[in-house]
């Protein structure tokens, strides 16, 4: 198994990839989805509509609300793909109905920034 489905769904979008973990509460604007941490490699980029590929969430437990808020403001990623589970990201995606996959490191390495892909958990595929 190269991928594990955490939150089901289907989404299409461009990969936005970071090799840095994300602290959603501290680093992401909860209305716009723009990264505001100037030390993060995605500083000033917007997560909106992307297939967000990053190692895992870190930090505050309230980051889950940030993810939910992004969804309410139509600024959320279309799907997320991580290598490790963080409960803030998992529960935020579960509540906001954002498809979430955990993948192996090899699979993660094969996902290239900027590429247009479709995530479909029903057929267990990343295309």
């Amino acid at each position: 198994m190269t991928l594990k489905i955490i939150v089901k769904g289907k989404a299409k979008g461009k990969i936005m990839k970071s090799n840095n973990p994300i602290n959603f509460l501290g680093a992401v604007d909860k209305k716009t989805g723009i990264i505001r941490d100037n030390k993060h490699d995605m500083f000033q980029k917007s997560l909106k509509g992307s297939i967000l590929v990053f190692p895992h969430g870190i930090g505050s437990s309230v980051g889950a609300y940030t993810i939910y808020s992004l969804k309410s403001h139509n600024s959320a990623p279309a799907a997320m793909i991580c290598t490790k589970a963080d409960l803030s990201v998992v529960s935020g995606c579960a509540l906001a109905d954002i498809p979430l996959l955990i993948v192996t490191q090899d699979k993660y390495d094969s996902l290239k920034d900027g590429k247009e892909i479709t995530v479909d958990t029903y057929s267990e595929k990343i295309l």
Partner: protein, 385 residues
């Protein structure tokens, strides 16, 4: 993950929308952490109370939830945005207060204990060793796992809320007796103060997995220990540390002067300030007692905000500590904390001095103010007269 018939029915929605939502969260977090089942928990500590952190979406979510949800176990809550007793001294708009009061009402309606504290481990009785609890608020999860020998995942706001509503949580690795972290951090600095240990925590959080061993640290006072937990919770996903001698089997990484300087340079962004904050985590009774001793006959040269739980402030007042702190010019605030406080606005404040690594990270990234890091003893030495 295996569910009981009752859990399965709730997940399908046969026990109402609220429980269906709660079980959806528990199942997702359980699957993600390879838990084989749900286990009962005795105490939930929920985060996501401050309007500044959860916003309108969070406020509406809780308002809807509170229409027909009730907690099943003892549930305590994190700080909110202000102290109602002195909020009028701060320039906070009415809209904020209205939304914050709505959040407070929603939580009270679902039956929580209105503790508004990020240090529940200092104001409530601690259950027996090994008791399963469910703590969001990262410093508290790390503290009770590492110091109080309770068992919790490093919960999120929603996973702890789901636990509060169901009395259950996934049986993930931190809940089991698996005390063999694959990484040891070797503390190379002698006689560290609380700021050094906060930086050690921040460093450890960045590289550790779900738990970590720390060697070279013997006795920590409560202030240092809280600082370490706060730093660790901010930078990573690690939910527990074990203080021990080196273990030959695990990978080893040194935390030396050079590494500490890197953390300092990342979080210290200015050399001057117009305000001091003490607390994040909020201060406990011992810390207020220490502080009142250290400040005897002194007063701060600039504003100093001190955050502590309401219950602690009441005790400290009876014991005379608050009088000393008042004399020194401190602003004492309960029910709220430094992290994402709406009471510090970058329009009025350029820089904040603090000894809190957790506070420093969120002041910079969320409030947008610069931070000057100093240990408490240095703050007292340099910032009072």
């Amino acid at each position: 993950m295996e569910l009981t018939k009752e859990e399965e029915a709730a997940l399908k929605g046969e026990r109402g929308e609220t429980l269906q939502l709660a079980f959806r969260i528990l199942v997702a977090t359980g699957e993600a952490t390879d838990a084989e089942k749900l286990v009962p928990i005795e105490w939930a500590h929920v985060s996501g109370v401050n309007y500044n952190t959860i916003g309108d979406a969070g406020e509406e979510f809780l308002s809807n939830l509170s229409k027909n949800a009730k907690v099943k176990v003892k549930t305590t809550v994190n700080p909110m945005g202000y102290d109602i007793d002195n909020v009028s001294n701060y320039n906070l708009d009415e809209q904020f207060i209205k939304k914050q009061e709505s959040i407070r009402n929603s939580y009270e309606k679902i039956g929580v204990t209105p503790s508004f504290s990020c240090i529940p481990y200092e104001i409530f009785d601690i259950p027996n060793n090994g008791t399963q609890v469910s703590f969001a608020e990262t410093n508290a999860a790390i503290y009770v796992n590492s110091i109080n020998h309770l068992k919790t995942n490093k919960e999120s706001a929603f996973s702890a809320l789901a636990s509060a509503l169901t009395g259950k949580s996934p049986y993930s690795d931190l809940r089991k007796n698996l005390d063999s972290p694959n990484l040891t951090i070797r503390m190379k600095l002698e006689n560290p103060n609380e700021l050094d240990l906060g930086m050690l925590g921040f460093f450890a959080g960045k590289i550790a997995d779900s738990s970590v061993r720390i060697s070279g640290v013997n006795d920590m006072d409560r202030r240092s220990c809280k600082s370490l937990c706060g730093g660790m919770g901010t930078s990573g996903r690690c939910g527990k540390f074990i203080l021990e001698k080196e273990d030959n089997h695990s990978e080893k990484v040194d935390f030396d002067k050079k590494e500490m300087q890197k953390v300092y340079d990342e979080l210290n962004t200015i050399d001057s300030s117009d305000l001091i904050t003490l607390g994040s985590p909020q201060l406990g009774l011992e810390e207020l007692s220490d502080l009142s001793m250290m400040l005897k006959g002194k007063s701060f040269k600039k504003r100093c905000m001190i955050f502590c739980p309401r219950a602690i402030q009441n005790q400290a007042r009876k014991l005379g500590y608050i009088k000393e702190l008042d004399h020194a010019g401190c602003e004492i605030l309960s029910d709220c904390c430094t992290c994402l406080t709406p009471l510090i606005d970058k329009k009025d404040i350029d820089g904040v001095t603090t000894n809190s690594i957790k506070g420093a990270y969120y002041l910079k990234n969320s409030n947008g103010v610069d931070v000057n890091l100093k240990s408490l003893s240095k703050i007292i030495h340099e910032e009072t007269k």
